[in-house]
Symmetry: D3
């Protein structure tokens, strides 16, 4: 599986401290597509992450963080001005987590498509995954992504996209102008409960996201609309109910016109949150693994939801769980009993 995008340095105050209270930052690396790449490597797939990083120790740290978990880094270019940084303050109870982006001028945002050898990258590859963050980075990154899609398509590689709308990166109308044309390459569309509206201009009926009330029917309609309008093979939407920064409901639906002619709704988990960043990415990775390995898309959905449920209990962007752990939860053991 190939993923293409940005990996950033993430700097967080420890525990529940606010930015103004900390005198050190926990430093890890993460980013939508990199998170998916690590998840897939943990699931035992050959996972190739494509990006560009500066030629200094901070860039090397990002490479090492991927290599550590077995991601293939042989197509990460080195050069450019800097690595993107994001500062993350962990929320708690009624206080939301806070992200400060310092990602402008990053190496990947200034990369040119010709720097990558797409033909080589997609050799013997089954799947290509990207998210809406990549084309939001810059016009040149958008072009590189488009080229990647074209080459992948030409080699019959399956393409999945996680819409991943980020309001600090672009406005809905900019997003839609860029994202809608790219949908033509996409086979599997992944979204959260807010993305379809912001990235593709489709509005769910009857949902009030901030109040943690999600409308089942509204989302069923939305999935159907998405599928029909863009011709996706599979549509999957994660459904987060934010009771507070410490506790969320978490589930998803999948519609494929096959196993799930009507949208299948997954088991819903009630989660005590340790770190919710990367929750959506772990869902995407779980879904890709499930679609590739189970010939039952309902099972793939449950795998994806269980995988991402576990992610919320793990600090950092990466979902460090094995296929066995995910299946144990998907099969119903969420009791959290000590194993000894």
């Amino acid at each position: 599986v190939v993923t293409f995008g940005e990996i950033m340095l993430r700097l967080s105050p420890p525990g529940s401290k606010r930015f103004l209270q900390t005198n050190y930052y926990e430093a890890i690396y993460g980013g939508g597509e990199a998170n998916v790449a690590v998840s897939l490597a943990n699931f035992g797939l050959h996972s190739l992450f494509v990006s560009k990083l500066p030629k200094n120790d901070i860039g090397q740290g990002a490479v090492n963080s991927l290599r550590k978990y077995g991601v293939d880094v042989s197509h990460i270019l080195r050069g450019g001005e800097r690595i993107g940084i994001y500062f993350l303050e962990n929320g708690a109870s009624q206080r939301p987590s806070k992200v400060i982006y310092d990602r402008a001028h990053s190496a990947i945002s200034e990369v040119e498509s010709y720097e990558f050898d797409w033909e080589k990258i997609f050799e013997d590859v089954e799947w290509f995954h990207w998210t809406g963050i990549t084309p939001a980075l810059s016009e040149s990154t958008r072009k590189a992504l488009e080229t990647a899609c074209i080459v992948a398509k030409s080699k019959n590689v399956k393409i999945s996209c996680d819409l991943n709308y980020r309001k600090k990166m672009w406005m809905p109308d900019e997003a839609q102008q860029v994202m809608i044309p790219l949908m033509e390459y996409v086979d599997v569309c992944i979204a959260n409960e807010e993305d379809p509206e912001k990235s593709l201009g489709l509005i769910p009926k009857g949902t009030f996201v901030k109040k943690a009330e999600l409308s089942t029917e509204g989302y069923s309609q939305l999935a159907e609309e998405l599928k029909n309008k863009f011709g996706f093979e599979v549509v999957a939407i994660t459904l987060r109910e934010s009771y507070s920064a410490s506790r969320n409901g978490w589930g998803a639906l999948l519609m494929d016109g096959k196993d799930c002619k009507q949208p299948c709704f997954s088991h819903k988990y009630d989660i005590q949150i340790i770190d919710r960043v990367g929750g959506g990415d772990s869902f995407a990775a779980g879904l890709i693994y499930g679609l590739l390995n189970y010939n039952n898309n309902k099972k793939a959905l449950e795998f994806a939801v269980a995988a991402s449920c576990l992610k919320h209990s793990i600090p950092g962007d990466f979902n460090l769980v094995s296929v066995e752990e995910v299946n144990k939860l998907a099969e119903g053991d969420g009791s959290g009993r000590v194993e000894r």
Copy 2:
């Protein structure tokens, strides 16, 4: 806004460790009045904290902790024997937090009123806030406080008092002997659900604090009685429902014979607690800000409750939130969604 009182060195074992388990203490500074002063500075008001601290690096650390957040420290005297210390063990679930006071002989408790230049301190000041801890420190501190009230009153400064009864500092009858006469200077009286009984001898009907069952009617009556008996302009009572050391219900009532002829009850928050020390102080600060800035006391109440709800999610004594953050919660977004 002027506040007058003690700031102490607070030493806590990390996380949920007990005193006997720790080999280091997290060190911050805090104290009822100082906490209010910092909150107000964070809200953008000119905030002047009056106290006395020893002339050594531990005392200087207290000054710096206030200066860092923009509090005016120009009327903090330096001298005396020592800074008060309090050791705080964080509770969890059914295990309560534990406080060991080592505050006797502190510089502020041995200060004499004449050391302060009250005339200068209250120049061009709108508001004076103090809590029941200040007169509990010593007879000389009580006298200084009384002088402060007299000078403030003479300059038409509005005076608020948070009753803040501390059973490790004095007995109810001592407290009442001191506190009742001081009420004559007070315009705005702030209390928690236990204070009016201990500090002023008024008993709510039908409440069993330890069982987390608060009686709405009882508190309405109590507010009315307080208002009538002492002639306060505004009475505000915080209502904490202690389900456990990890989770509390939190709300408040306000009665002013104007916007709230009958006591207004605020929105009630269900809080996952990070640090509840300073919760009451953040309410007082929020109320002062609200009363000064909104010409609607119901809105001031909601601001105060939202501010103090957020405090519970922040480690340390100080409430490090902005007016915008408080208003966002007061307007109803407690979903804790990541901002990115």
Copy 3:
């Protein structure tokens, strides 16, 4: 009170980190019987822990950890190859805690019975406690335990056993072969909801442990059966309802044919978990203290459950609470209000 068993070095990643994320381990010492010994010393009893530890600084660290809390270590032998180690990853939400044992070849597992001076050890002793882990260590440890039981019995020492089945140590049939004969020495039998089946071959009816649904009637019958079949004076069973790794229900039952002719069910606590390792051991210690000090076994049960409820809020294996703290909770104050 004498306890006999293993104390291990416990190594845990900090907070909620997974093994693969950590670059340091919090290091404490613990083990079923040692945990009971420390609890009893904290309750003010003379507590003598019998074991064997290697003659190096890691072994000495175990001795010091016991000595620190006042446990009598004068009968801990020194020698042998190594100390047992267990790695513990703290779970959260749906992710269970994970234990990796590295305890083979430990000094205690290779001890011979004659190395201990049992006659001296049981001089003027009232109570002897052991758990099912001790005989699971090795054949030679089993023999030493048997000798200990015989000597204790000959001196009229009361004997309690916590069945403590560990599936990573032995299979149910092995366990039963060893444990059933040892029951003849036991006066007080302590078990969790799974042990009687695994260690003694008795099956509760209608319980599905993993689903957190415990059957009251089933457990009553089980207690009765245990009492009848093995002739125990007292049977106590802890009842854990695992909603998740972060939250458990916790209670117990006791049957003694006296104060509790029908099984008495304790108060049930809803616990936010800090560290659940040692939960069962703290129950056993509470029960021993209660049976020795209260002439009411119902009260002993409530003391034991309250003690072990508090244990869940304390990091590490040891339950560091005083008799006063336990009684305060047992008498109904679980509000977690700050004491100041």
Copy 4:
């Protein structure tokens, strides 16, 4: 005293760890001119730092770090894209410390001169200090600096400049083109043993900096040449002998045509290094304090060298020492005996 320049977020791996080994960064703020401002505030002078910082919590953290130590921050503008960051890896023994700059596009580097109210800034000010880093940031910053110099000069403010050449910021010829014209405003020129060559094109004779052998005569001549060529009132050069990253020799010379007609050489210290960043800045601050407070420039020199000697023993960029501590060392007590 006014200082004008950049304050950055400094991120360092703990202790002697390399960038590739760390999973957290110690976070402080620092920068040549800010370091001088804090030193001066610690010495009790009114210290006003002029700069621009982004309007987010990371920028606010920089403001707070200055405010904490009593620096006047009322002329720090808020706005712009980002705060400059520098990553610092602490060297040890033969391994040098390593700096990775990520300072491009910082708010201060994109500021325009008109944004500052220079007339107000220099009201009642005695001294203006800047370093060679400020004009290296960008053309617009250079212009702002020039304006500042002109306004300061017009108000008879004394101007000091620390040449502070940074090879990662510009080449010697660029530096010289910018710096030489600015020298006309400078009264007190401060340099290290390499700066005069790089920034002003003057070459010391007989020095081989990398070999830690400094030529006394060469530096005397250089000082004289500097003084003559640019007409400085006072020239001061710090002389560092780098035995290794852990141990340095440290001294300075001063020439003023008055107290030190021939260059005065200070006492030389043999320093065990804790943190050498900010060493030169602490010398500059010490010199400014000394020149303002002692009517003996030899004494001012010894004060400056002692102040900066102490800086090397303090972690972080800021020199947190009092006038008393500096004088105690300058008067000859470097024994490091415990004070108790």
Copy 5:
């Protein structure tokens, strides 16, 4: 061996941080006499520490810290107002370590002699050790010490005293008034290079302590004078050469009119300092052990100096070394080679 004195809570910023930089304190316990008690327990002697501590968790922590290392705590009284605290900032290079005492009103300083059962304490005891800090605490502590000396003397217990002058506790003339009369009970007098002058009014010739130049002859004369004037059996003086806070020379002399008719000078060590607090105490403990176990006082001296040399490499007040480790160094292996 009995020791009598104070044990305090010691709070230090981590590493080389200054007080004003820290946001946590490393917390250990220590104090002159307690340090000796722990050393002696580590050497395998029965070590009984006599003191008084408050009845709270901070006092209990002190008890546990002693118990952990095997000190007999059965004669530590519990009660009183507070435990003494001292804040310690670690120096480095030319910056000295800094101590802030907050020890007034401690339980031990307000103890009365009758509270201790001296007859029982000195039953079957060979040695009694105290230091000059104990009588400096208060008049009542001085009286208790005097009683202890009288009772000890009556039972033929050998008495050693470490003069341990502290300028922050009393002036030389106060000290001399108290200390000189107490010398009548002392058999073994231990001092550093400054104590005899401050505590007993005897002045060494030709020494300039601050310049790290110690005069051998001067100290020989001083030892002789001490021995003659006060009739001590053994006089031992430690000789510290403070090159800086990071590096010291360390040795000692002993005079006993027997093995060392002329003062014996020990091997001199050149020490890279980790923590020098407790250095003198570890010498005293080493000397007591040596005098009790070797019938050669020159050997005892070398043991004491080697023990205290090792102390300087260990963080905290306590000297955690074994007899074997000390002997290995005393016999000449200071190469610091890894043992593997």
Copy 6:
């Protein structure tokens, strides 16, 4: 380059703490051959590490630690009972570092030769490196090593051996019985100043290792004797002068009958030690790199010594330096000046 051996979990108390003082362990992975493998990967060579590790997260952590730095882990077997552990206490000044091995029963010590596919492993490989620790692990590991040597030899792979004698693993006579026959396969023999005597029975004349006096002539003779007796192509001996645990002299000699007919002695470094574990391994790796890349063995020697000099400044077992950094030092810049 192929290396074959053990990688262990290393657990160290932080900083200078002793084992008995710590409550956590820094956890890294290391071991003679693994350290060489990582060094070589850092130098840009293809580095293949052959070993066996248990199939649990602790074993996986070892794999990840190698993968992170780019080592090829495709021939690490998974299975067996446990990973070897070593506890390391960092020494300081006169106190030596202390190692406690808990490595018995490790997976690699119980591996059988046939488990490895040596033919595949040595395909297209230039160099094979092992150390004296590997055959000391067990008879079966010795056999595996012998097979590896035979296969390597048959493929014309160059073989280097670092004698690496460990007295806690075997006695000199056992070592010699095993090591001497293995020398027949060795082309490049690497040793420290003590190894040739212990592992091969050759005694240097005139050296007293513990006194830090090394005899140049003695070592020249020894090198010659080694070369002659065992027919090595290259002999290299590291020369450590242990002044203390904090400071060492470090150099080496090389003899090859070619570039260095008479032993070439390298530059000697005076090192302030951060972590000396892995110092010898970094020398071996540097030498292999140098011999492979420079056609001048004197230059290879200087590269090796500079590489290992830098290692002493880096925490952990692994030498994390680049070829550029090593060459910069080898070319003479050890001034440790900040690079900025």
